[in-house]
Every structure is written in structure tokens, then in C-alpha cells.
Symmetry: C2
Subunit: 313 residues, 2 copies
């Protein structure tokens, strides 16, 4: 047992040594620090490690008090908006505006995606405080991460067995359930076709900030029952069906749209197409009158705001 | 195609109707709101929905600018601390102090666990900016969530196949890898025994805030190579071994400790015991001199700070 006592003793000596070493190191680098990175004007000329930590603590207190004040305003909003109505609290257009402002204002070494996640946690939690909802996500660690990144840890959260289950839970959730489903260029089946019959629609596409090398980068959709939001996204999703896959890329590109996903089913080609706001109904309908491979418009399946494109990390 | 155009049209009419309905609803509840929840003093007597949203936007801007300032101070800290040394940036004692301050200062309807996660994302990301590290977590959606809750989305992140792989990656990570491993009262094997030989130790136990009904509630440990942190946690973890499982609970409780996990291996009982700071080495060593079922002390395997206990949600 002497060995046991010795180990504890050595540990403490080591710790004291490191403590002294770090104090010396801090002194050594003080001058460099003041010459290289002056930050703001302080009463004292040379901030020590402790002073820098105290500044961090003051900033954290300020952020926390701001969050508390935000929660008081949201309490007032609840009274004004009366948002116990399902689906009334989601405002993807306003959320996108918030993200654009964050990106526009950001500077410094903190990754913008960390800022994005902080606000997603804030927005998702405060929305949940206004009108409780839950998120159901299809299987897979990547998609679980996406849902946690965008909806945080306070909202109700379940992982379904299949994408069909996700859609069904959104439909039966009476506006209180959001779904998260992956987007693959080559889908196993045309999962988007039943959406419009069920009243389920795409309300967002993730990730919202497009940046090569970013974390939480899996391409996916947020599904919901129709929202009470009055803003219209800049990309509309249209389900199309063509007798064959021949020339569909060119045809859809020619009207200004793009194919997000396609699948050959029972001898015809089912297509999930993204149509920017600039593409008119007339242009979309022209796809039904093509001499070669005329398409059928199956319906709208919602829409999303174009991601905010940033240069890579 | 008339049908298609009609659908869009109906959608827009519905949206306009809802917009008018909401404006009327906002007017209707303005008076109630002013009587029930006055927030601060504003030039105008009656805040509208738009005014409340503008206040939220101003708060968000303030929080964002605070975060940017925090990143500038961390840049200065990097210069002062010279924390390219592996393991130099982790300060679990200071992080625990921060959490205690957050809990002490918190009020209002925002769940404290949402605040906890926001700061965990902030702390983990800023620590990563000082000295890059990654987190390796054992299999399971619950543990993945725990690791994302506590280390956020910016740090490197992998999920290993087994707990042994987690421990091995921490050992070979030269201080740049943290592990997350579950704590079960009845473990499959005494996984903690190899830790001290490998130089790996427990540096934290999660969740840090103990509150019934909280999200991210899975009991687990954070593993690390020895830190340069000089603070000593208030709970020490000791690996004990007894000839049998008979009376081990009473014996360990009698000195003031508790059993976190136990497993019968090859005819003896391996125990992971939590010893509060108040339990002396002499008291722990007294367990080796028990007449009935004397224990062997296998070594220290780190420690953690007692969770902050809060009443349930």
C-alpha cells in the first residue's frame, strides 16, 4: 500500500511542478502577447492568463443574461402569438434570414458552423417552448447527427426504422412532428410521391450553410405538415414522371431547374426536381408537351431556401 | 395542368388568409399581453409581434458579437498559454466552475440543459481552437448523443467498435484524443483495470447536471491521458478487487465510498469504487485489512467532479 500512497504523492508533486512551469511560461510569453495581439483597451497594460479568463467569464455572463432576456421575450411572444396551434411556431423563412445575418456579421477564428449550431439549438429550443414538437429521423448515425445539429437536444427525438415510418409519423403528428430524411441522387424508390397525398411537404434542406469540409454535412430534407408561415421559399420541389430516363436532365435544365433525385420504377422514370422561384408554372408545364419523352407533373412536394454557399474551411 | 395551377393558387390564398388571421389574433391578445407580462421599458407602450422579433434580433446580435469577442480573447490566450501542447487546453475543474455559475445564475423558462449544451458547444469548440483534439465514442446512439452534447460538432469525432478500442485510441492519441465510455452498475468485464497501466484515466463523469427527465442523460465517463490541469476533482475512482462479492457494499460504504460498477471475474469480484475527497488514503487502505473478504487496491483510475443535482423538470 506504500506504492499506492506514493503514486498519489508523485501525482501531486508533478502537478505542483506543472503549475510553476505554467506560471513561468505565462510570464515568458506576456511580452510577445502584448506586441502581437493587443485586444481592446484595458486599465492594466499587460493582461495575465487570469485576467483573460475573467474577461471570458464576463462575456459568458453577458451571453447568459442575453439568453435569459430572450426567454422573457419569447414568453411575451407566446402570449401575443398564441402559438399552442400546431405548426404555428415554425418560421423557416425567418430562420434563414437569421442564418444569413449570422454569416454576414461573422468574423474571427470561431468556425461559422459552430455559430450555426449554437443558433440552431437556440431557435429549435425556443420554438419548442412556444409550441412543443418532436423530430423523427430515419436510421443512420449521419442523419441522427444532422437532426441533433439542427434541432438540438431539448425537442422530443426518435429514430424511426424506415423513411416511410418517418413520413407516416409526420402525417399523423398533427403538425407536432418534423421528419428528417436523406436526399440521395439515386434513390431506392420514389419516396417523395406519396408526400402530397398525405399533406406532408419538404420545408427545408440541410445543411443550410454549404461549405466544403464542414461538420454535419449530410444532404437531407426536413418534412412537415403545411406550416402557417407566410414566406415562400426560393426553391420549389416538383415531382415529375417521364416514360423513360432519356434526356430528362437536359429537359429540366433547359427550363432552369435541376434533378435532385431519380429512380426507374415499373418502366418509367420518377424525378424529384428543384425549380428555382424564377422558373414559371408555364415553363414547368412545357415539360408535359415535349415531343420526345413528355413528362407528367405529379405535384408539388414543398420547397426550401437555397443554402448559403461559403468558400471551404 | 389547370389542377396544378389551382393548387398553387389555393396555397397562396390560404397563406393570405392565415396572415390576416394572425394579424387579428395579435391585436386581440395585445392587451392581455401588456397586463400580464410587461418586459422592460420601451418607448412604445404596446410591443407588437414585429417589435418583439426586432428585440430578439438585437439580442442575437449582442450574443454573436460577444462570441466574436470571446474568440479574440481565446486567440490571445493561445499566445499566452502556448497550448499547442497536447492535453494542455482541457481544464475540467474550470469547466465545472463555469457550469456551477450558469446553474446559479439561471432563471426563466429556458431549460438549464439547453444552456448547458450551448456552453458545452462553446467550451469544446474554443478548447479545440487552442489545441486540436478528437473524441472517440463507443457504439450506441445514446453514447453518440452524449458525446455530441458535451463536445459539439466542431471537434473530430469517431465512433469505435468496442470500449477497448476507445481506450486504445485514447492511449495512442498522445493527449489529443478523448474517449467516451458508458458506466453500467453491472459491467460485462472489468474494463477499468487496464486503464492505469495504459496511463489512461477518467477525467469527467456525464451528465454534469443531474436532473430527472433531462435529455442526454446516459451515465458515462470521459477518458483521457493525464491532463496538465492542476485542480483535483472531488471524487476519486479506485479499482478494488475482493476474493468474493460478499459484504463489499457495506465495507466500501463504511469508509464513505460507493460502488459504481462491479463484475465477477475468475472467482473474484472486481470493483470500480467512487471515493469522495473526504475519504482518506488510510481509510481506503483499511479495506485491505478486513478480516472477512480483504480487498486488493489495484490503483487509481482518475476521478470526476460530483454532478450538480437539480430537482426534476
Amino acid at each position: 500500500m506504500i506504492l499506492f500512497a506514493d503514486r498519489i504523492c508523485d501525482h501531486q508533486i508533478l502537478r505542483h511542478f506543472l503549475c510553476v512551469w505554467r506560471a513561468l511560461a505565462a510570464l515568458e510569453y506576456r511580452n510577445d502577447f502584448m506586441n502581437d495581439t493587443p485586444i481592446g483597451s484595458d486599465e492594466k497594460a499587460v493582461p495575465t492568463l487570469d485576467e483573460l479568463r475573467q474577461r471570458i467569464d464576463r462575456i459568458d455572463e453577458s451571453i447568459h443574461l442575453n439568453l435569459i432576456e430572450r426567454s422573457e421575450i419569447v414568453e411575451a411572444l407566446i402570449a401575443v402569438k398564441r402559438t399552442d396551434k400546431p405548426g404555428a411556431a415554425f418560421r423557416p423563412g425567418r430562420e434563414m434570414d437569421m442564418m444569413r445575418r449570422l454569416v454576414g456579421r461573422h468574423r474571427g477564428i470561431l468556425p461559422i458552423t459552430a455559430v450555426e449550431h449554437l443558433w440552431r439549438e437556440i431557435i429549435a429550443t425556443f420554438t419548442h417552448m412556444q409550441a412543443p414538437y418532436e423530430v423523427v429521423v430515419e436510421p443512420g448515425a449521419d442523419l441522427r447527427d444532422m437532426a441533433r445539429f439542427y434541432f438540438g437536444f431539448t425537442v422530443g427525438f426518435t429514430q424511426a426504422q424506415t423513411r416511410d415510418q418517418v413520413i407516416e409519423q409526420v402525417r399523423t403528428g398533427q403538425g407536432r412532428v418534423l421528419g428528417v430524411a436523406g436526399n440521395e441522387p439515386d434513390a431506392q424508390k420514389a419516396w417523395w410521391i406519396p408526400l402530397s397525398d398525405k399533406g406532408v411537404q419538404v420545408i427545408a434542406r440541410l445543411p443550410v450553410i454549404a461549405q466544403a469540409g464542414r461538420p454535419a454535412a449530410k444532404d437531407c430534407f426536413v418534412l412537415s405538415m403545411p406550416l402557417m408561415d407566410t414566406t415562400v421559399p426560393d426553391i420549389r420541389l416538383v415531382a415529375l414522371s417521364a416514360p423513360s430516363g432519356s434526356g430528362v436532365d437536359d429537359a429540366i435544365t433547359s427550363v432552369g431547374g435541376g434533378i435532385l433525385s431519380r429512380v426507374m420504377e415499373e418502366g418509367h422514370c420518377e424525378i424529384l426536381a428543384a425549380m428555382p422561384f424564377s422558373v414559371s408554372n408555364v415553363e414547368i408545364e412545357s415539360l408535359t408537351r415535349l415531343a420526345d419523352n413528355p413528362m407528367v407533373i405529379r405535384g408539388n412536394v414543398g420547397g426550401y431556401w437555397s443554402p448559403i454557399a461559403l468558400s471551404s474551411l
